[in-house]
Amino acid sequence: MGFVLFMIATLMFGMFVLLPGDPAASFVEEGLSRKALERQRELWGLDAPLHVQYLRYLGNVATLEFGVSFRAQVPVREVLVEKFLNSIAMMLPALILIMVGGTVIGAYLGWRRGTAVEKTAVLAGLAVESMPSFFAGIVMLMLFSYGLGWLPSSGMGPSGSGGSFVATVFSSDFPRYAALPVLTLAVRGVNGPMLLMRTSMIEIRGSDFLMLLEAKGVSELRIVRHAVRNAILPMITYFGVLIGTLFQGQVLLETVFGWPGIGRAVVDALAARDFPVLQGAFFFTAIVVVGMNLVVDVLYGYLDPRVRVTGDEVRA
């Protein structure tokens, strides 16, 4: 895992070297002298030879300190933690809705395969998912915010009320502000896990053990529980992938709903060639993705006793 991260870090450095554009040029206002530009580059250490920059960078990676953001003038950690938290505040409820909703609906559709409800639901799911996210977002806005006026259109809270992340998220206003982006995400995202769960359920449905359960005179609800418990295993992998996107943010939705999340922060940083923030964000995302793979493996082992490795097993 360490090696994987080192390779990712090195690749990322190479990427930044190849990225056209001078950070200082986008930072210092056009019309200021060349001298100002050079001074800025010197301040940011961009005048050092490449190998020196690389070593400095590796040091940053090792200590998880990516220096000071060019654009925000504060340590990268401070910019990113805030943005990651904001993204999570939007993505986590959506993720829960997607996973729970997808599992429940998918299980139901799989169990009731071939009915009119199932066919309609599969079509509807595809239709909703094929809608671009910003379009879905704008439709939601037109409907519930600008149109009916039920929900506010943007931000994480009323304007002027801003405060700490905790205060914002736990304020009574937050659910109303989060409702539209979370719903948009969830409605679009639910199709994937729904179809997966449905397929998985259909596969499980023919299993002998379900037949035996029926023969045992167990209630249908309990049989469904057994089926779901088995069918849910592929969902874990899906969950891992989905949580990766959580840490990448949703640039388009964040823009449409004025949500100050990580996706927008990365795009802004890219536009400003804010290398420290980009390096921090990408590396952190890499850690999360690699870490999530580990979590998924562990979770899989927990949910599927067949892949669990125990001391017992080793002895046997």
Binding site: D208, M211, L212, L213, A215, K216, G217, R222, E313
Partner: protein
Amino acid sequence: MPLLAIERLRVEYQTRAGVARALDDVSLTLGDNECLGLVGESGCGKSTLALAVLRVLPPNGRIASGRIVLDGTDVTVLSPRELRRLRWERMALVPQSSMNALDPVYRIGGQIAEAIRAHRSTPAVEARRAAGDLLALTEVHRERIDHYPHELSGGTRQRVAIAMALALGPALLVADEPTTGLDVIVQDQILRRLRELRRDRGMAVLLITHDMGVVAENCDRVAVMYSGRVVEQGAVGPVFAEPLHPYTMGLRNAFPNLLADAAELISIPGSPPNLVEPPAGCRFADRCPFVLERCRTTDPPLVEGAPGHWTACLRWREADELRGRARSGATWQTA
């Protein structure tokens, strides 16, 4: 009144090729504490019979006609609710392959207890203790109660399946190939234990197997099935010693140790007919070395060739002579 009476049972599967009649006019009876062996090649419908008795046929299968009477109740017309009450209390199933028949992500103790708690309001702790007792009964270590199916050997899994079937003390145990795939020693141990349990508990067992030897050792009576029909049935001794149906004679050759003079192993060439469009007349005709012209046109009825010994062969009167010829491999090769 017998414990179980199957009367003119017809089971059909909806397949892509058409409707396949897996069981065609099958009638069987099974008395209390009796063991009936059901033998035949794979695909002859013996497993379908087991599923039909518990009414757990796959979605594409249905009972087309006939009755399955258990304790005087016709199982085929019960509502799901009534059926659910009857299952496992009065009849239980030892499934064909306990590898697939046990839920891989639940502990075996839980799966046994689940059967108990589905029918009785037994507290969880007690159900667990009962599960342990049942495991002990089938010679499985109590401590295995928290193991998952994949952690157990095939034999142990089969014992677990039997233990589970015994959970509620059913009157009828349907054992579908309970020892298939196990090595001979384990097979013997399990069957011995099953025999003892049957004796102790006074259960009736419907033992489905393709192994004539197993039937010979365990059963009182035997029914031989071919292509969805019972072609011969009767007490084990007469049926194996003096079979009246050429198919039974052929089967017997496949298990030389059944015969006192240890003849050569002879298999029946060919394969059973298509169940979607079965041939007219005797279904075994194409493979039968003693086939006559009328065999291909007349559907042979089940007749009582000897007291309690039934067969569905037009030439049953010549059985003694045919038996002699059937012992020779050459006879079967010419067919």
